[in-house]
Assembly symmetry: C2
Homo-oligomer: 343 residues x 2
DNA sequence: TTGTAGGCGTTATCAG
DNA sequence: CTGATAACGCCTACAA
């Protein structure tokens, strides 16, 4: 049996109220008494019971994270960023992931009720408003990379449009006119925004998007592979490929290699995310960098603010991205406006 | 304010005890009363308060996971496996990750106290016994991929030795005698075991390990790149490279490409883990597959058993691995004894 | 089949 | 500075 506040009080010859004060640095306690209590507590290995504390204070010191079924390293890195902030504050992290549809997300949300002081929700396939009814009332929430601008909730998105715009503009500037787009699944918000960014770059350059040059993938290597073959069969063939994430770009690279198409001489290729492997494939991949841990960290910090100050205004923030030019797009890395990855 | 059991009781014209019975399917309740209570509860959106429940039952319905700072997708996939099992049982997952040393792990362990009914701990750099004193007493624990056999705790490891043995034997059988080993960090248990498996294969083939053919990496692409260059400079040069994980193998591939060394003609290459990209690099990577989600899932199932039956014997289990032959090692995929990945 | 009442371990409010 | 004591919301004998 773990010892309770009562054991400590008895052993130290004080009331439980005083022990409580010591453990919460609340109220004044005589230095001697404090020392005595500290000592007894250590000897008895006393640790306050979290449940009792929660029951009495209505605070859990825990934040909840609800995530969809994420592909690749995204999940790890988001959690890494969140966890770091959370630990720094001595809080805890309740995680629920791998939700594939709205029903599951809603169930997860319900399950979090009463167990967390705030929520980070990520559901790139769902509109924020659809979640509204199911979010526990009065609970601070940060929407991470959700569709919409977050509406009445705090929201944080990475700048998908800006990043896609930058890559596309880069390709256009280097003379490419027929650019094949390997898109993500259209129900996914990131995928839609990245496509939109590309379209805007086309428009700004006076070019127009050709529907036959857009092939949908699902963010997996395999789908990138397949899409590249499809685009390769077109007549005339595109001279550049922009995949909505690096995994698909890498799948495309492997397809091009098998087809004997040289990159970047015969076909420029670019991706999105700058996953670690991107610089180690052949040729190294031009892409858009976004710091996922930072995305998580910023979400956590925002949530803490919202918890601390419940009346604070909702905020909608955008995490900037960065074009990373490597060899796969044919431009000389380091040339022009683009940022160049260290070797 | 969320409604309490008392609100439901009043509204339904019964005592709180009866409402409690309904929500715990315990004791007999008249069908009519049950229906009435269910209905009222739904209308009031009543959800039992977890803290109160925990306080009175001493059960949290939560399992804790303590993980080190994991590289790449490993973390995601382990959690995916655990989370799936946990959700299936309607339990919760308290996560604490990114711990770099013993002090941090111990702090995390302490913080879990009283908040979880069981613990999955992963710390490939630490010996199980070192953790012993810091584990909350009497709490069911499963050690995941920890050094040692787990000792007095349940343990689950992937068959690192067996996998490494299989790759190495495969290379030896195809005529390679000078095999360069790119090892993981030696403080890491997986890394040590994989090296040991390779050594055992050497021994079984009557070959001996040459120290100059072993270069230490840290599981990152970059370190694999560097190690490959180092091995390439040897005279005579090795004819094959076995990296202790795929990331390093991919780094090595990029180094070989830059050096103009053809794979597999001039140098066979193999990795370990079978990460998704492994089959999309050039040439596709021969490696060892291990299902990480399954590793997590099995750990969770074992933990649930241990929680259900506190007196159950501690068990030490091994998750099998599987050799995946692709082009990078020069053997014809599908030939011989090896398992061949579908296209 | 249902109700009563004590207890789970803390915090917080009031008196002293 | 310190001590009683009433919540907090729920579970569970024990009674009825």
């Amino acid at each position: 049996m773990a010892s309770t506040i009562r054991d400590v009080a008895r052993e130290a010859g004080v009331s439980i109220a005083t022990v409580s004060r010591v453990f919460n640095n609340s109220g004044l306690v005589h230095e001697d008494t404090r020392r005595r209590i500290d000592e007894v507590a250590k000897r008895l290995r006393y640790i306050p019971n979290g449940a009792a504390r929660t029951l009495s204070t209505r605070r859990t010191q825990t934040i909840g994270v609800v995530l969809p079924d994420l592909y690749g390293e995204f999940f790890s890195e988001v959690i890494r960023g969140i966890d770091q902030e959370v630990q720094r504050s001595g809080w805890h992290l309740l995680v629920s992931s791998s939700h594939n549809d709205r029903v599951e997300i809603e169930a997860a949300l319900r399950a979090m009720r009463g167990r967390v002081d705030g929520l980070i929700v990520m559901s790139p396939d769902l509109d924020a408003h659809e979640l509204a009814q199911n979010l526990p009332e009065m609970l601070p929430v940060v929407l991470l990379n959700c569709a919409g601008d977050g509406g009445v909730y705090n929201s944080l998105n990475m700048d998908n449009r800006g990043g896609a715009y930058a890559v596309t503009e880069h390709l256009l500037r280097h003379g490419h006119r027929r650019i094949g787009l390997i898109t993500g699944p259209m129900r996914n918000h990131d995928a839609r925004e990245r496509l939109r960014g590309a379209h805007e770059a086309f428009a700004a350059a006076g070019a127009t998007a050709a529907p036959e040059l857009e092939v949908a993938g699902d963010f997996s290597e395999r789908s990138g592979h397949r899409a590249a073959l499809e685009l390769l069969a077109l007549e005339p063939r595109p001279t550049a490929l922009f995949a909505a994430n690096d995994s698909m770009a890498i799948g495309a690279l492997s397809a091009l290699r098998e087809a004997g198409v040289r990159v970047p001489e015969e076909m420029a290729v670019a991706g999105f995310d700058d996953i670690p492997i991107a610089r180690y494939v052949s040729p190294p991949l031009t892409t858009v960098r976004v710091s996922i841990p930072e995305l998580g960290g910023q979400a956590a910090r925002r949530l803490f603010e919202a918890i601390r100050d419940t009346k604070s205004e909702q905020r909608h923030e955008l995490l900037p991205t960065e074009l990373v030019v490597r060899r796969s797009c044919g431009a000389r890395p380091g040339s022009g406006e683009a940022w160049c990855a260290p070797p």
